[in-house]
């Protein structure tokens, strides 16, 4: 019973902060609200004994939201606290669609005759996860690495307008990089 109450509280927190993401009037606050939502979900994960993943989730999301906040300040040049934000469109249809989807999914959740639990969780969940990663699901993790590699390359290509040839010359033989604002490594 206690579990249910705690869970419900977390769920309400997650949901409420999730809603807050789109209700607060600045992007930075949205980011914080989102972080709260993730932390709540991470906590729920912990409730299901998923210590490892739950912690990962919380850590990663807090970091990510911090980055997001910084990103917005640095790149967008916005003062997150002061910019009032009402950049929405199509509110009504969005709401209708969201509610419709919710009804569909929730209806499914309630009405579908879910099968019985098949087996029980391993005693040491983290260990079993490690075994799976190094065992039956090895390929999955093998493929995640090129994804990360690709992400690095792709993100840099997109985000950075100036490549090595801009900085070091076409033959990469410039003694110092040619940057609009000198600084950084290799100065």
């Amino acid at each position: 019973m206690l579990l249910v109450i705690v869970f419900s509280a977390l769920a309400v927190t997650a949901l409420a902060s999730g809603i807050a993401v789109f209700r607060v009037d600045s992007m930075a606050r949205s980011a914080y609200a989102l972080a709260v939502s993730f932390v709540a979900v991470g906590a729920m994960l912990l409730m299901f004994d998923l210590d490892y993943i739950g912690v990962i989730t919380i850590l990663m999301m807090v970091m990510e939201m911090a980055i997001m906040a910084i990103y917005m300040i640095m790149f967008m040049g916005m003062n997150p606290a002061l910019m009032p934000m009402s950049m929405v469109h199509n509110k009504r249809w969005s709401a209708i669609l969201a509610v419709g989807t919710f009804l569909l999914l929730a209806g499914g959740a309630l009405l579908i005759p879910w099968p019985a639990r098949n087996g029980s969780p391993a005693a040491d969940l983290t260990a079993s996860l490690g075994e799976a990663i190094m065992g039956s699901k090895m390929l999955v993790m093998l493929t995640v690495s090129p994804i990360l590699f690709a992400t690095i390359v792709a993100a840099l290509v997109l985000a950075n307008p100036r490549g090595r040839y801009d900085r070091w010359g076409d033959d990469l033989n410039r003694p110092t990089p040619d940057d609009p604002q000198q600084g950084g490594l290799g100065r």
């Binding site: 997650a14 989730t57 790149f75 199509n90 669609l97 989807t101 929730a106 098949n118 079993s128």
Partner: protein, 100 residues
């Protein structure tokens, strides 16, 4: 605590995120909506794993989802930066040259 309850919570999170993705104009805000949807998915995976299929596959799936979330966000920032640099705007509504 039942599967249904968790699933409904997950669905609610998912749909809040969906609402955000549908209604926000700023790319980063749309991304936040997507993150919320993924939040719901994470919860749903957990629920299914716990209540129906308590095998390690579910945990791996969770890892994959989290990884996906991360890389998608990274790409999102990159794309938003690109958009901002080349079009001077970070709103989806102002990038509507390609139609028809």
């Amino acid at each position: 605590m039942t599967l249904q309850l968790v699933l409904i919570a997950a669905a609610a999170l998912f749909c809040v995120g969906l609402y955000g993705a549908l209604s926000q104009q700023v790319v980063v805000m749309v991304m936040m909506g997507l993150e919320l949807m993924l939040n719901g998915v994470i919860l749903a995976v957990t629920a299914f794993w716990w209540f129906l299929t308590p095998i390690p596959d579910g945990q791996v799936l969770l890892l994959v989802v989290i990884a996906a979330m991360t890389v998608e966000m990274a790409m999102g920032f990159a794309v938003a930066t690109l958009l901002h640099r080349s079009r001077g705007s970070d709103m989806t509504d102002s990038a509507t040259d390609l139609t028809g």
